[in-house]
Amino acid sequence: MTAQTKNIALSAIYFGLSTVITGWFIFIGKDFYSSFNNMALSGAIAGGKWGLQIFMALIFVGFRKWEFVKEIGFVCLIGSLLLLTYYPIGFFGITNGWQFIYALAIAVLGMIILYYRAIINNGFPIKWFIRWVCCLAIAIILQLTVVFHII
């Protein structure tokens, strides 16, 4: 297996698992969504920022593009796994909306740290981190406005 094939395969596994876990998280938080369409929209926004990153990477990164996609795929997977802190948070009596919000906050914080680390450790330009943070900020605003109507 060539390095590129391995990177593509790992990228598919990371993003595939992330999709399943994020879908599960949205499902267990179904009481906080007003409709199924809102759940789908929430998932689409969460996945959209990664889709945009992959799309831009495939166009602009050059010969290391699949290595880049694999690295951000791993960040995405760990971020999705951090959503599962939902359960231990509940153990401490934090329930309902706050349990959901704390798990999201831990996942976002974890992803920011890991994305930065992946960019620096692998010698990719810091502008990719800044772009991703911008995508993340837009995604959060969209979740708060279009999905949950909080602001």
């Binding site: 796994l81 231990p88 509940g90 153990f91 009596g93």
Partner: protein, 210 residues
């Protein structure tokens, strides 16, 4: 036949080079919750058993474990209850097989101190369930919960869920881990309300080989 056996033995021994067997023991803080919002208080218990740790790749380990673990919860009835009970300790004793996949890193430092973060499934079988009533007058009474899925039963026998692990490995053969088990199966056999277990544990593990 002899050649095949020798080949298998060599293959098995080459695998075990990358594996560690160990013993683990720890303190549990457990409780179970209902989906209707009512909640029990936590119960302190313990766990102990065997662990196996093998290398999947440079950074990934698989650490299946077979342990005896005490879960359950404490409930407090109203203070003026007719039985004079101060609290009930509901002890659920399981044989549990956990199978966490662990990301292990030294963060660029020394291999004598590495960090574990992991997640995986577990399956647990309820071997005994005891209700201990502690009364205001200092006396206690015990009764066994009925285990099973029948109409007279109080807890389902099989539980499964997710096990979370974070911790450190010191000198390659001593592990200190904080673990959390979240039961995903509803253990209430009869009523509409759903019951799920949760358990935090702090464990000390000794691996026989480095």
């Amino acid at each position: 036949m002899k050649k095949i056996l020798i080949t298998l033995l060599v293959a098995a021994s080459s695998v075990t080079v990358y594996a560690q067997l160990g013993v683990t023991a720890g303190l549990n803080i457990a409780k179970y919750t209902y989906n209707n919002g009512s909640e029990k208080k936590s119960l302190t218990s313990f766990n102990g058993g065997l662990v196996y740790r093998t290398t999947l790749s440079k950074d990934f380990k698989w650490q299946p474990e077979l342990v005896f673990t005490g879960k359950g919860a404490v409930s407090t009835p109203p203070a003026n209850n007719i039985l004079g009970v101060e609290k009930y300790k509901n002890k659920l004793n399981y044989i549990e097989f956990g199978s966490p996949f662990i990301y292990n890193t030294n963060f660029g430092g020394d291999d004598n101190l590495t960090f574990d973060m992991g997640l995986g499934p577990y399956a647990a079988y309820l071997i005994s369930a005891v209700n201990k009533a502690e009364k205001f007058d200092g006396t206690t009474t015990k009764r066994d919960f009925a285990i099973g899925s029948g109409t007279a039963d109080e807890f389902k026998a099989m539980d499964f869920g997710l096990t979370y692990v974070v911790g450190v490995i010191v000198q390659k053969n001593i592990g200190v881990h904080l673990k959390y088990d979240q039961g995903l199966r509803n253990l209430e056999p009869n009523y509409a309300v759903k019951l799920h277990t949760g358990n935090f544990a702090v464990n000390l593990t000794y691996y026989f080989n480095k």
